[in-house]
């Protein structure tokens, strides 16, 4: 049964890594560089130094778990590359990373922006077009990632026979 290609471990690892790295984009670019979108900025408006530091604490807790998700993704990736039945498809992996990023944004955006109202993309506007654009862009990331995964799997099917004879499925 070793010849049955199993993409799940690679896609799951890539998705976990994409979720973690997407969380870091959120934290580094939005929270720290642009200083928007902080964790509790709708509850504790960043109008005073105290509230800014409180937001910094909750941002930090969020990013600690983002780090854990990245570590889980790395461990899963290590497990995947050691399995002979997992084809190492570049497209599947890249697609999974992109899809993971989109999934992170959709879950975080839906829960924190629209359900719990912990923060919004542009806080002074509340729920605004930017929050919907955030979700829309995230759905596009998921769809783009998924189509890349499908392309990688299709390519793997075509090339599987030749790669299988070489002992390991390393596909585009």
């Amino acid at each position: 049964m070793q010849n049955v290609p199993n993409y799940r471990p690679l896609i799951a690892a890539g998705t976990a890594l994409g979720i973690g790295l997407g969380g870091f984009v959120d934290g580094i670019l939005l929270h720290q560089i642009l200083q928007v979108h902080n964790m509790l900025s709708a509850v504790r408006p960043k109008t005073t130094l105290v509230n800014m530091e409180i937001n910094m604490f909750w941002d930090g807790l969020f990013h600690a778990f983002t780090w854990i998700m990245t570590a889980i993704g790395l461990a899963m990736l290590w497990g995947a590359v050691r399995r002979p039945d997992v084809p190492l498809s570049n497209r599947c992996f890249a697609g999974s990373l992109i899809m993971g990023w989109g999934i992170f944004n959709v879950v975080e955006g839906t829960l924190d922006h629209h359900v719990l109202h912990l923060h919004h993309v542009v806080e002074r506007l509340g729920v605004s077009v930017f929050d919907y654009a955030f979700l829309g862009a995230s759905v596009l990331l998921i769809l783009g990632g998924w189509s890349l995964i499908r392309a990688g799997m299709a390519e793997g099917e075509v090339g599987a026979a030749s790669h299988r004879s070489q002992g390991r499925g390393l596909v585009g």
């Binding site: 049964m1 010849n3 049955v4 290609p5 199993n6 993409y7 799940r8 471990p9 896609i11 799951a12 998705t15 976990a16 979720i19 964790m39 509790l40 509850v43 504790r44 130094l49 105290v50 509230n51 530091e53 409180i54 604490f57 909750w58 807790l61 969020f62 778990f65 854990i68 998700m69 889980i72 993704g73 899963m76 084809p87 999934i103 992170f104 879950v107 975080e108 829960l111 924190d112 719990l116 912990l118 799997m153 793997g156 099917e157 599987a160």
Partner: protein, 102 residues
Amino acid sequence: MGEGDLLRRSIGRIWMALMLALPALPGNACPICETDTGQQVRQGIFDGSFGWNVFVTLLPFPILLGVVLAIYFGIPRPVRLMGRRSDARITAGPEEARRPRL
């Protein structure tokens, strides 16, 4: 295990513990410990809504982990379909058995 091995292993563990403790040293700076602002920050963090804030801050992660696990193991299907699928994998001919999973 010889005495030398035991000593070497103990030294290794102590060294590892020290290395792991080093990153925590900056915690001594503790910006929320001494100053008036720091104390207000600490009160703001550990107020009555601390537990709720922890919950809502971490809420996305079990969901995200669930998505990853669903991809890894597959979404559970009704027993009838699972039976068909696993039977198919066991009894399938060579071409069907090689079809990629997922």
